[in-house]
């Protein structure tokens, strides 16, 4: 039996690393120059993600929630059964008294349990990592709501009015944060991110986790961040700093 040719393997490794570096500026240009061109599909080279800095997120501020509701035509939730795409959660460490506030929404898992359990394929992950519900095929069984560890999904119980062009929503389907997919496809940031910046907190960073020079990639590389329920190994696209 021939010994494994390690020199060849090392050469291939070096070549691949070099190719990666050489490619990075091109990838950067492609993503941030503008929106994806018409007719082009979402790229698997991209992994959209968000970083929530809980040290900057203000307790009591609901700018992100309000912006989300306005963007998607979701009425403000007043009952436990109302749809909720994003909500503010307050965490208090009883030993130290430290209080942290953070928005929680669909975590856009790389291994989404909602997709695993969906019997019709309505719950799916797009190539660029955005987890969506295709309402055309959703039968409203709510398996995904049971499977989601983050309670991110809601069922629409009643007929809807005042829908937005980019966010169709109707009775009998499950829905959740779609990472403002229509804005992202136009080259913009999700509504909550812009609202947080406009409110002066700048607590949410949005970007491509796969692009080593993006702000979010630099941040997650330089500071300690965590994924909610990382023990479930769903590899969330939404990360939290300071939890």
């Amino acid at each position: 039996m021939n010994p494994i040719d390690t020199s060849r393997r090392a050469f291939l490794g070096r070549t691949a690393a070099f190719a990666g570096v050489a490619l990075a500026p091109g990838v950067l240009l492609y993503e941030f120059a503008a929106a994806r061109e018409a007719g082009q599909e979402a790229s698997a080279a991209v992994r959209w993600g968000m970083l929530v800095d809980t040290t900057r997120c203000a307790s009591g501020c609901t700018a992100c929630v309000d912006a989300c509701n306005a963007e998607h035509g979701v009425p403000k939730a007043s009952r436990p059964t109302d749809a909720q795409w994003i909500r503010k959660v307050e965490l208090k460490d009883l030993r130290t008294g430290a209080v942290r506030s953070a928005p929680v929404m669909c975590q856009h898992c790389a291994e989404p349990p909602c997709v695993d359990v969906c019997p019709t394929g309505a719950s799916f992950k797009r190539a660029d990592g955005i987890v969506l519900v295709d309402r055309h095929t959703c039968i409203g069984c709510r398996y995904c709501m049971m499977a989601c560890p983050y309670k991110a999904r809601s069922f629409v119980h009643e007929p809807t009015t005042g829908q937005k062009t980019d966010t169709p929503r109707g009775k009998g389907c499950v829905e959740s944060c779609n990472l403002c997919v229509h804005r992202v496809d136009r080259g913009e940031k999700p509504a909550c991110v812009d609202a947080c910046s406009a409110a002066g907190h700048r607590a949410i960073v949005f970007g491509d986790l796969n692009d080593p020079s993006s702000e979010i990639a630099l941040r997650v590389r330089s500071v300690a961040t965590s994924q909610l329920r990382a023990d479930l190994r769903t590899d969330n696209g939404v990360r939290y700093q300071g939890l």
Partner: protein, 124 residues
């Protein structure tokens, strides 16, 4: 016999007149030309939309030639910016005439973006 024939003729004429008055008079489109010719659109718009929706939702392809939002922006009523609401509104008028259930708008917005934002779609 003659009376009966006259009666039948009268009924037939009345029927023809009734059918004529029921042909929908729809809101005029804003644009000059549709994405396909009218006969093709009447026959196949649902197929175009069905194909396009999967391309957009699942593969993320935007800016397709056939889009429901595009239909609405062009065919909405001048005053309220909607395609539903009365027998002259574009989608509702024709679907009522053809007796085909229209369920797109149980989820999709039936008004133009301008109308949703509270602005008038265009000057009446």
């Amino acid at each position: 016999m003659r009376v009966m024939a006259a009666g039948l003729l009268a009924l037939a004429l009345a029927g023809a007149a009734w059918a004529g008055s029921r042909a929908p008079v729809l809101d005029a489109p804003r644009g000059e030309k549709c994405v396909e010719d009218a006969a093709t659109m009447r026959r196949s718009h649902m197929d175009f939309l069905r194909h396009q929706r999967d391309e957009t939702v699942h593969r993320g392809i935007r800016g397709a030639r056939h889009s429901l939002a595009g239909c609405i922006e062009c065919h909405a009523n001048a005053k309220d910016g909607a395609v539903l609401g009365s027998p002259s509104h574009f989608c509702q008028g024709c679907h009522a005439y053809a007796a085909v259930k229209l369920d797109c708008f149980e989820c999709h917005a039936s008004r133009t973006r301008a109308a949703q934002a509270g602005r008038q779609a265009r000057s009446p």
